[in-house]
């Protein structure tokens, strides 16, 4: 915690080294979070970059109130994703099946893993906004209930409850797809 505090303090002085460390430390988590929300690699990369640019612009406004810095970044990411869908509601990414049908080149060696996370992503899309966030933050980014609660502005009990309902829905959707239980 103290290390993160020092890092952010340096970043607030626009120390490039500190920003480099922040970028390296949080990039993967933010990227995964965004990927499972938007389902497109290139778009996720762009939005992830935008998250860090916005974080830099607003780093002065970040204050330590017991909330981890990552929570702040995820909140920026969440807002960006919402804004993205608000701007382009009609544009949705092609599913793997649609890509294959349309002849989009998908490397064979990536088919298995891509199929799996594509199925998961589509199952996630069936969940509510809060449920999606809980599942992604807990299982993709590996955050604790406390951290997820801080990001979502909910109690820890509410997060557990959301997680339970989300997993129930996710299990049902995946079970119906015939993939998860196979």
């Amino acid at each position: 915690v103290q290390e993160e505090h020092d890092l952010i303090c340096k970043a607030q002085e626009y120390d490039p080294v500190a920003f480099g460390r922040i970028y390296e430390r949080y990039y993967n988590g933010v990227y995964k979070y965004i990927y499972y929300r938007v389902g497109d690699q290139s778009l996720s990369e762009d939005l992830t970059m935008e998250v860090f640019l916005k974080a830099m612009e607003a780093i002065d406004t970040f204050t330590f109130r017991g909330v981890p810095f990552s929570a702040w970044l995820y909140r920026i990411a969440s807002n960006l994703v919402v804004d993205h869908f608000r701007r382009q509601p009609a544009q949705s990414t092609l599913s793997l099946e649609e890509k294959m049908l349309l002849g989009v080149d998908v490397p064979v060696q990536q088919l298995d893993s891509q199929f799996t996370h594509e199925v998961l992503r589509q199952a996630l899309a069936e969940l509510t906004e809060d449920q999606q966030q809980v599942i992604i933050l807990k299982f993709v980014d590996g955050l604790s209930n406390v951290e997820v609660a801080q990001i979502l502005g909910k109690t820890e009990g509410a997060v557990k409850s959301l997680q339970h309902r989300a997993l129930a829905s996710l299990g049902r959707v995946l079970g119906e797809s015939g993939e998860v239980l196979a």
């Binding site: 970043a11 002085e13 626009y14 120390d15 490039p16 500190a18 920003f19 480099g20 970028y23 390296e24 990039y27 993967n28 990227y31 995964k32 990927y35 499972y36 690699q41 996720s44 990369e45 992830t48 970059m49 860090f52 640019l53 830099m56 990536q110 893993s113 891509q114 799996t116 996370h117 998961l120 199952a123 599942i135 807990k138 299982f139 993709v140 590996g142 209930n145 557990k160 409850s161 997680q163 339970h164 997993l167 129930a168 996710l170 299990g171 049902r172 995946l174 079970g175 998860v180 239980l181």
Partner: protein, 462 residues
């Protein structure tokens, strides 16, 4: 009010309804009044539909609480399995212990935790990091420049005020006070308030420029607070730099006094030069290169409270021009040869020389060489007649929008530029003007000691 028999009967029936007796049973017990009672009792029954009798309420609450407790146990149980799953306990082991209803949830959680999305492109990650670092560097430089500027306003300039002006200036202040009263008499008595505004936009060599400087001196004399006076010095120094840049951009002679006044108002050149736009730095660098010859340098330094300021300025100019020359493309606007001859020796005049004599080009000065260069070797001492106090013109590609003149009397003290958003007024130093050419980004620090400004380097492409 005495209740009628029907009202008593209605009360009794409502009580029966509240006790849980069915509506039809209540009506059946009073067949003679059933038709009259039915609509009223039906309304009562409808209104009390969601209000079960106390006994039933207790029973329902118990059922509800049991359901909540069961749900909570299930949620906690799932959470426990999730914790174990994330800790690495095999899925099969968890499935063996969990209830059948939890199996899909645990499998879904396992899939989510173990499935990686496609990795981001390493090139994009690296490019993003480079962009972040570059932006952070730029923001840090901006912040430091702003901080230094602020420190100048409230700190360093005070020293200038005390050191430069306070000591030998009893007579000067008396003189300035006399001037102030004279100016006030002119403005108030003769009703020439508009002259002040017009004078504010004047440049050296113009008729009203002397009035402008008199007003400044009057304001300095009338300002008793040292901090406020320091702010005024900074503002007036900013004005001098604007005037220099505007004269240079307009191919007009630049009086040496103007340069001295600017430098004397600035204890730290790093900040001032570093915050100029690229086009302005190009103008200034060329002006210094062309006019501050070694001989002129000595003369100019004699008029400076901090002679090293001129050395720093020359060093900055040399670095800027060297970097520009090293660039693949021309770094600065082309320098046109001045049509009129100029004074290569650049003799500074006395600090209190009457303003009306400044900026007047002389006709008896030596002819400028084809390519103006500062001469590093010995230079013949200037003759007495060469004290023309004139910096010859430097041609600019575009006029400097920041050099547009406005009466800064209404500006807050210590602010050298204009407020963002001001329409029709030039932006502060360091911010691009509306019609300012995107010139070559240049080195910024005027001296090697300038650790707060970006190090000199080759100009980038516009």
């Amino acid at each position: 009010v005495v209740k009628s028999s029907l009202e008593h009967l209605l009360d009794a029936c409502i009580a029966e309804l509240n006790s849980g007796i069915d509506l039809e049973a209540v009506l059946a017990a009073h067949p003679d009044h059933a038709d009259e009672l039915r609509p009223m009792l039906a309304a009562v029954a409808w209104m009390q539909l969601d209000i079960p009798p106390p006994a039933r309420r207790v029973e329902r609450k118990g059922l509800f609480m049991n359901a909540v407790a069961k749900r909570r146990r299930l949620v906690e149980s799932t959470e426990g399995y999730i914790v174990e799953l994330k800790a690495g306990v095999p899925l099969e082991e968890l499935l063996a212990r969990a209830e059948a209803s939890q199996h899909p949830m645990l499998i879904a959680a396992y899939r989510m935790a173990t499935t990686e999305p496609p990795a981001p492109s390493p090139e994009k990650v690296a490019a993003g990091k480079a962009m972040i670092l570059a932006l952070a560097e730029r923001k840090r430089a901006e912040r430091r420049a702003a901080a230094s500027r602020h420190a100048l306003l409230r700190g360093g300039v005070l020293e200038v005020v005390r050191g430069l002006r306070a000591g030998p200036t009893l007579g000067r202040r008396v003189w300035s006070g006399t001037v102030a009263m004279a100016v006030a008499a002119i403005f108030l008595g003769a009703g020439l308030a508009g002259v002040g505004h017009a004078a504010a936009s004047s440049l050296p060599g113009e008729p009203l420029y002397g009035v402008k400087r008199l007003r400044e001196n009057a304001r300095l004399w009338l300002t008793l607070d040292e901090a406020d006076r320091a702010d005024l010095y900074v503002r007036f120094s900013d004005d001098r730099l604007r005037e220099i840049l505007k004269l240079a951009a307009g191919d007009r002679p630049v009086p040496a006094d103007l340069l001295l006044d600017w430098l004397n108002g600035r204890p730290d050149l790093d900040v001032e030069v570093g915050t100029l736009s690229a086009a302005q730095q190009a103008l200034l660098a060329q002006l210094v290169r062309d006019q501050v010859t070694p001989a002129a340098r000595r003369e100019l330094q004699a008029g400076l409270a901090r002679p090293a300021a001129l050395d720093e300025l020359v060093a900055w100019s040399d670095g800027w021009l060297a970097a520009a020359a090293a660039s693949a493309r021309p770094a600065s606007p082309p320098v046109q040869e001045p049509e009129q001859p100029f004074d290569t020796t650049l003799l500074p005049g006395p600090r209190q020389q009457p303003q009306g004599e400044l900026g007047q080009a002389r006709s008896d000065v030596p002819v400028k060489p084809a390519v103006p260069r500062r001469v590093d070797g010995p230079v013949p001492a200037p003759s007495a007649g060469d004290s023309a106090n004139v910096l010859p013109p430097v041609q600019s590609a575009a006029d400097d929008p920041r050099a547009s003149d406005e009466d800064e009397d209404e500006k807050k003290p210590g602010y050298a530029g204009t407020e963002p958003g001001d329409e029709g007024t030039p932006p502060p130093y360091g911010q691009p003007g509306i019609d300012e050419p995107e010139a070559t980004p240049p080195p910024t620090s005027p001296s090697g000691s300038g650790n707060q400004a970006p190090a000199p380097g080759p100009p980038a492409e516009p």
